[in-house]
Amino acid sequence: MKKLFFLRGLTVAITTVVFYAAFILACYSIGPHTFNSWIPNALSTSGGQGYTLLRLNEAEKASDVDILFVGSSQVNRGFDVRIFEKNGLKAFNLGTSAQTLFNSYYLLKEYLPTSKPKHVVLDLYWGVAKNDGVEPSIDILSNSDFDESTLEMVLDLKNGTVFGSLAANAILRLRTPIYQVKQKEFRDSEYISGGFTKSLATNNKLDAEDLQKMKPLEANMNDFQLEYLKKIIALCKSSNTKLIFVLTPVTKEYKRKVTNYNSYTNKIARIAKENKIPFLDYNQREELSLVSSEDFSDRNHLAQSGAEKFDSLFIKDLGKLGVSQLSLSRK
């Protein structure tokens, strides 16, 4: 009986190993086309939309910056590092597609020690505050080395789609190492060294009809993301980095769709006050005269003209917070 049981176990083990070896070999042979839109748990955005590949590659070399920006695509399209450079502030934009606070935490964990920023500017856009972090995690792991913090992020998320995508990307890397992956070009945007995505759109693609159709929405931060916001605060404190909360601007029409805007921002303001963190909300600023049809590429992303207006005001605000003096003293 025991012998039979042992033999069966051995057969199961051998057959399983052979099966998975054959499966991985098949995936490897078929190549990148294996992991396309037909397989929802083997996703890869390597070199794709959002320029995460170039951004993370550059982030590794960024050091001694004054400001490190983290958040979603609104961050990488909103903070033009060249404008900050002109104002004597060395900045790096670490905003990636749909980046949630969970992802921001792991990116900060990885890049705070190397970039050594004086300030971290964290965007708290409600559109990603209740997300599960799956999509941005796949974007990050598809475009970076499988280093400790990336693997830690994957393990922490405990999501089958992310595990599957990690495996898929590992097989892809066997064929094409990360340093050989080419960044795709896009007609509506351009990557600017330092992490900024310059929008090439000249007008807002969202017409009035689309916005009218849009249902009212509630801004919320789920417990999972709230937990990571607290972790970010603790991480910045422990590394002696000053944290600034922001809400990057969206179109007035889109903001009006948010039914509980004030209660959402009040919640953030309360957390900011408790932790002595400045909180700048650019949807409530009269002097920021952004035109929806000209200064935005869509309802929640700034076009280049909008980014310039926004950054000018933001830099003034930084001056009030004493950030510009920091930089000047460094010089």
Partner: protein, 493 residues
């Protein structure tokens, strides 16, 4: 704890391993502790509700057995039922009835002084309450000896595989199994694991894939008419079947690995050719519960005709209310009650009609017609089950066949945006095709199962081939499953 969570991936093997490592006399304690942990993953404090009903029913069972007179027996049975139904009434139905009283009071121009209770519904409350009640009923009827071991009785109510969504077991089937010593059995373990894998496939690959599209339409019904409403309703029929039967498979399978046999809960219900047959195949443990403890005590079919129809209707109405404290569920139950009554009344007339038009000379076609009609009726009722409000359900049922031509033309005209919204229900073409693919695969497997056990068929293949087949199933789950850790639909009941 969810069966489709990483926690369960650790919990299940650890508990199973410990179960076989421990001496028999400690196993009940392990399973009870594990069941407490399993339950407390949802809302720890609610374990006190379970404890309350367990204590009441445990003593009610013993006192019932010791009672000398029928009057005493009835008193103890009533005490047990009041405790169980009382818990249900407070936690599940209080706010529903209170809301309706408020609405009625507003119409009459008065204010309802009864406050609204801000409480969460304990998970699986209707399931374990019904299982507890079946124990006192059976002791009362003399079909079951009262359980003297408090821990074993608590385990009967709390056994983790079926604690939150059934099957709703009977004491005659389960209690003696907790007393019996189980030895590790390779066949049981292998079959249990296979059933669990198949259940997980149904849940994460079929149900959760379809759920995204169903939710898209059912949460915004007024954005649609015609084709998407029909598609989403059919998808929901498949989603709820895979979700719930998937849960049952995992429950039955995980119990089987430890050597426990739980009752079958689903028997390919969508192959039914009548509503009556459907209820003999769908959620069997609940329909037999209602049969044994409500329908038969009401008199069943051994009464005058009008009373029989009344009994049928009442049972399904209560079944609707059991599912949820909402008018949508009540209407769903009433619809099934109406189907049953109407089907019973017209049975003879329909047979004569089939003879008259010669349908009986083409039995296969006749059966196909019966199957189609049953499926359509079940799907129509599902609209009320799934819709968020009565208003939504009304909108969906009244707009399913409007704008069909325009929708078809718009899809045929091939602007991708329209196609994405109307035909693919907001998903990419690939994901939609994948969903259709897994549904087709499911139907094929169910058809094969209809001819005989697929497991036995696979068992005839060489051992390495069998291992490869089950590995392929695991790979399919890993590649195509949805891992959002979504709750099972029936957890809310």
């Amino acid at each position: 704890m969810l069966f489709n969570s990483f926690e369960f991936l650790i919990f299940f093997p650890v508990v199973t391993l410990l179960y076989f490592l421990l001496p028999h006399r400690f196993r009940w304690a392990l399973l009870l502790a594990a069941s407490c942990v399993f339950y407390m993953f949802f809302k720890p404090v609610y374990i006190l509700i379970l404890f309350f009903t367990i204590v009441i029913d445990y003593y009610a069972g013993i006192l019932l057995e010791q009672s000398k007179t029928q009057k005493q027996r009835k008193r103890y049975l009533t005490a047990s039922l009041v405790a169980n139904i009382g818990v249900l009434a407070v936690f599940k139905y209080f706010n529903f009835f209170n809301d309706n009283i408020t609405s009625l009071a507003e119409v009459m121009g008065v204010t309802n002084p009864i406050p609204y209770l801000t409480i969460l519904l304990p998970i699986g409350l209707s399931f374990h309450t019904f299982q507890a009640m079946s124990y006192t009923f059976e002791v009362y009827r003399g079909n079951q000896k009262a359980e003297r071991h408090f821990g074993i009785y608590a385990l009967y109510v709390m056994f983790y595989p079926q604690l939150v969504a059934g099957p709703i077991e009977r004491p005659q089937n389960v209690l003696h199994q907790f007393h019996r010593k189980h030895y590790f059995n390779y066949a049981d373990a292998a079959n249990g694991l296979k059933l669990m894998t198949w259940g997980l496939f149904k849940k994460v690959v079929v149900a959760d894939r379809l759920a995204v599209m169903v939710n898209q339409v059912y949460n915004n019904p007024t954005d649609y008419e015609g084709i998407p409403l029909i598609l989403a309703t059919i998808f929901f029929a498949i989603q709820i079947y895979c979700d719930f039967s998937g849960y049952s498979d995992i429950a039955i399978g995980s119990a089987q690995v430890m050597g426990f046999n739980l009752m079958e809960n689903f028997r390919r219900p969508y192959f039914s050719t009548s509503i009556k047959e459907f209820w003999g195949r769908w959620h069997i443990s609940l329909s037999t519960w209602f049969r044994d403890y409500l329908y038969i005590p009401l008199g069943g079919n051994r009464v005058v005709k009008w009373r029989w129809y009344y009994n049928l209707f009442i049972v399904f109405l209560v079944s609707g209310l059991w599912h949820g404290a909402s008018w949508t569920f009540i209407i769903w139950g009433a619809l099934h009650g109406f189907y049953q009554v109407f089907g019973t009344i017209t049975a003879d007339a329909r047979n004569k009609m089939a003879d008259l038009v010669g349908l009986n000379r083409f039995p296969a076609f006749h059966k196909f017609l019966q199957w189609g009609t049953t499926f359509v009726l079940v799907c129509f009722a599902w609209i009320f089950f799934r819709a968020n409000t009565i208003h939504d359900a009304w909108y969906i049922s009244s707009h399913m066949f409007s704008g069909l031509l325009e929708g078809a033309r718009a899809i045929a005209a091939n602007p991708d945006g329209i196609r994405l919204q109307l035909l693919y229900l907001g998903q990419s073409k690939e994901i939609f095709t994948l969903a259709i693919g897994v549904v087709v695969l499911l139907i094929l497997i169910e058809l094969v199962q209809q001819q005989g056990s697929l497991r036995l068929r696979i068992a005839s293949y060489p051992f390495p081939v069998r291992v490869a087949i089950y590995n392929a199933l695991i790979v399919a789950i890993l590649l195509f499953g949805s891992f959002s850790e979504s709750e099972f639909i029936y957890f809310q009941f």
